[in-house]
């Protein structure tokens, strides 16, 4: 039986009372679904907005968290959808394996990674997570469980990868892990004085496996786009020295620290954000360094509940991608608008994306993606509407996993395969069985 609980995404905006079901096995889930009016799967609640909320029926997938099989020769892993990425890393990193694509937090489920078709700092070369997915099992909620892959039920596969959980419950998946020699990253930091220089550095750094830039989004005028660009490779064991070389896969212990309370709203005032940006920029001195894998990929996981620094009202993350040809002009307009408003966050991330994904609603496209946090104030929400217009003008789109407030009209401008997705939902009867606050808001 369900119980009612106030739920939100990671941004803690919006918060809604949801009837929460907590099946303990895939079989229990299978029996739960058919009589439900309409439901949505919820992984570890790391989507920022309302993608994992359905007041009528939200299904907590975290107890479906078993590893099923691992092939030591090929690295192929089969697991249930509620397995946490952090569990996979804890289990397999010591044996020299890592995931082919990782988002910026380890605290996500595999089902969530598929539903969001997550990307990482290697997108320009490796593509998104679903580009590596071998297959998934999808419970359609009407008694059918279908194996989906590029070969079997390929349309359903393309709709499910990046499909925000709206095509059924992902219950199992298979994907290969990649070989690594150490738990360390060789990182090179470059400085860019402005946006043009940052983009030029990305374009000349395609050979690096991982790349990302931190933008001081409050820098204005000729400093617009001032940033630190971080390039990295997995370090080979031979690049390590001393005790690290003897145990290259050992991870230095990290003691997670927590934000104990909701900080008051003024803690994130413009002055504080500016000071933090300047500090962070200074810290990222140009040069080469060895960095441990966890703080490299998951800097914010060290501070559990970091979403509380935005206080009780919550925050929204704005992430858009602009096509390559429009990126420079579009990013400049976005950054100017954000800088003029003076309410941006310290989290301003720029990343060159590679190929488009095969997923019908997948976010990535060749170009540049920008991501920032904003406290969920009325002024900021109005600002984001202006950013939507700029993004759409330049042929870009918004990442649904981060979204809590986009309009249906803006969605349609950014996702050309939207109708195909809707038609497929209708064809399988999925539009009646699966919905979330996000899908209701956007007419998905």
């Amino acid at each position: 039986m369900p119980h009612v609980e106030p739920l939100s995404g990671w941004g803690r905006y919006p918060v809604r009372d949801c009837a929460l079901w907590q099946p303990v096995t895939t079989e229990a889930l299978h029996a739960t679904l058919p009589p439900l009016p309409s439901s949505i799967a919820r992984g570890n609640g790391r989507a920022y907005g309302d993608a994992s909320l359905n007041p009528d029926a939200t299904i907590d997938m975290r107890r479906l968290d078993r590893l099923i099989a691992f092939n030591d020769a090929t690295g192929e892993l089969v697991c249930e959808a509620g397995v946490l990425l952090s569990d996979i890393i804890d289990a397999f990193l010591p044996r020299g394996w890592f995931v082919p694509v990782t988002p910026g937090t380890r605290m996500v489920t595999i089902g969530g990674m598929i539903a969001s078709d997550v990307h990482g700092k290697n997108h320009h070369g490796a593509g998104s997570f679903c580009d590596h997915l071998l297959w998934l099992d999808l419970d359609l909620g009407d008694g059918r469980v279908l194996r989906c892959s590029h070969q079997e039920n390929a349309e359903l596969f393309a709709a499910t990868c990046g499909g925000m959980g709206l095509t059924g419950m992902i219950v199992r998946a298979a994907f290969p892990l990649i070989r690594i020699e150490s738990a360390w990253m060789r990182q090179r930091t470059l400085r860019a004085r402005d946006l043009a220089e940052a983009m030029a550095l990305f374009e000349s750094s395609h050979d690096w496996t991982y790349s990302v830039a931190w933008i001081d989004c409050l820098a204005r005028g000729r400093d617009l786009g001032r940033s630190a660009i971080l390039l990295a490779e997995h370090a080979a064991a031979s690049e390590l020295d001393g005790p690290r070389r003897a145990a290259p896969l050992d991870r230095p212990p990290r003691r997670p620290r927590a934000v104990p309370i909701d900080l008051p709203g003024f803690a994130l005032s413009g002055v504080n954000v500016r000071a933090f940006n300047r500090l962070y920029h200074a810290m990222q001195r140009p040069g080469d360094a060895l960095v441990a894998l966890d703080p490299y990929f998951y800097p914010l996981d060290a501070l559990s509940d970091w979403n509380r620094i935005y206080g009780r009202r919550g925050f929204v993350q704005y992430q858009c991608v602009l096509p390559l040809g429009e990126s420079e002009r579009g990013l400049a307009r976005l950054l100017e608008t954000i800088a003029a408003a003076g309410s941006g966050s310290f989290l301003a991330v720029l990343k060159r994306m590679g190929r488009p994904s095969f997923g019908m609603l997948s976010f990535p496209m060749p170009g540049y993606t920008l991501a920032l946090d904003f406290p969920a104030t009325p002024a900021n929400l109005a600002l984001l509407d202006r950013l939507d217009a700029i993004t759409a003008d330049h042929g870009g789109r918004i990442y649904l996993t981060k979204d809590a407030r986009l309009s249906a009209a803006m969605l349609a401008r950014g996702y050309p395969r939207l109708q195909e997705f809707r038609d497929l939902r209708a064809q399988y009867g999925l539009d009646r069985r699966f919905s979330s606050l996000l899908s209701q808001r956007l007419g998905l």
């Binding site: 119980h3 009612v4 096995t25 099923i68 099989a69 804890d90």
Partner: protein, 242 residues
């Protein structure tokens, strides 16, 4: 030292699952005993940690503990009793069979299984029996006294078993977790500062096991809270709704 194999009785529960993962991560061989598709859990455990893990069917109320241990094939080094049933107080008060289910799942079954374990474990080096009891056993309250009294009995049982084996070298540990966010408490409004995650409980138990502690509250604050609750005079206590 933790003696292997570690037998988890009630391994499909959230605390049982967390304990199995915790012990396996320490390199212990683990035997999962529970209902349902427990074999998949053993596979999962082996993949996660590389530890040896297997599964056996187990029902704490089946009244056949000797048959269970005889068919196990080995004498465990460590036995953890996690099985239990919160039940519903109103249902237990109204329906004799519901009350019996709660009593069997929290006292009769666990005590008989641990007696059967103790009969076989005398002389096992570093042998240890761990019972998950409850703070609810420290004072009977209107809201859950069928469950609470069975746990009170189980706490007394563990205390006696510990006393009986003080000289045989078999260690017995009592665990009182307080509120834990599990299937058992889903939907209950739990005060966050007094509520632990299953992983926290498992970590505390394994650390206390290594230190060979006798009685632990996995969340230390409960020790104080229960001291206060125990100290309230009965004439006053009976009028309270706690």
């Amino acid at each position: 030292m933790i003696a292997s194999p570690v037998l988890i009785l009630g391994a499909r529960s959230d605390i049982g699952k967390a304990l199995a993962r915790g012990y396996a991560a320490q390199g212990c061989e683990v035997i999962l005993a529970g209902r349902g598709d427990i074999a998949a859990d053993a596979t999962d455990l082996g993949l996660r940690s590389g530890a040896k893990a297997r599964a056996v069917a187990f029902d704490v109320t089946d009244g056949a503990p000797d048959r269970f241990f005889d068919s196990l094939g080995v004498v465990p080094g460590t036995v953890v009793m996690v099985a239990g049933l919160l039940g519903d107080q109103a249902e237990s008060a109204a329906d004799d069979s519901a009350a019996q289910r709660v009593m069997d799942s929290n006292f009769n079954g666990p005590a008989r299984y641990l007696l059967a374990a103790a009969r076989r474990m005398a002389g096992v080096p570093d042998g240890c029996i761990i019972g998950i009891s409850s703070v609810a056993g420290e004072r009977g309250r209107a809201s859950n006294f069928v469950y609470g009294s069975a746990k009170a009995g189980f706490t007394a049982f563990l205390s006696g078993l510990r006393n009986a084996h003080a000289k045989t070298g078999l260690h017995v540990m009592t665990v009182k977790p307080g509120f834990v966010r599990t299937q058992m408490t889903a939907g209950m409004k739990l005060p966050p500062v007094m509520t632990a995650e299953p992983g926290q409980v498992a970590d505390a138990i394994i650390a206390a096991h290594r230190a060979r502690r006798d009685v632990i509250y996995t969340l230390g604050r409960w020790r104080l809270v229960m001291a206060v609750i125990r100290a309230i005079p009965e004439p006053l206590f009976k009028r309270l709704s706690l």
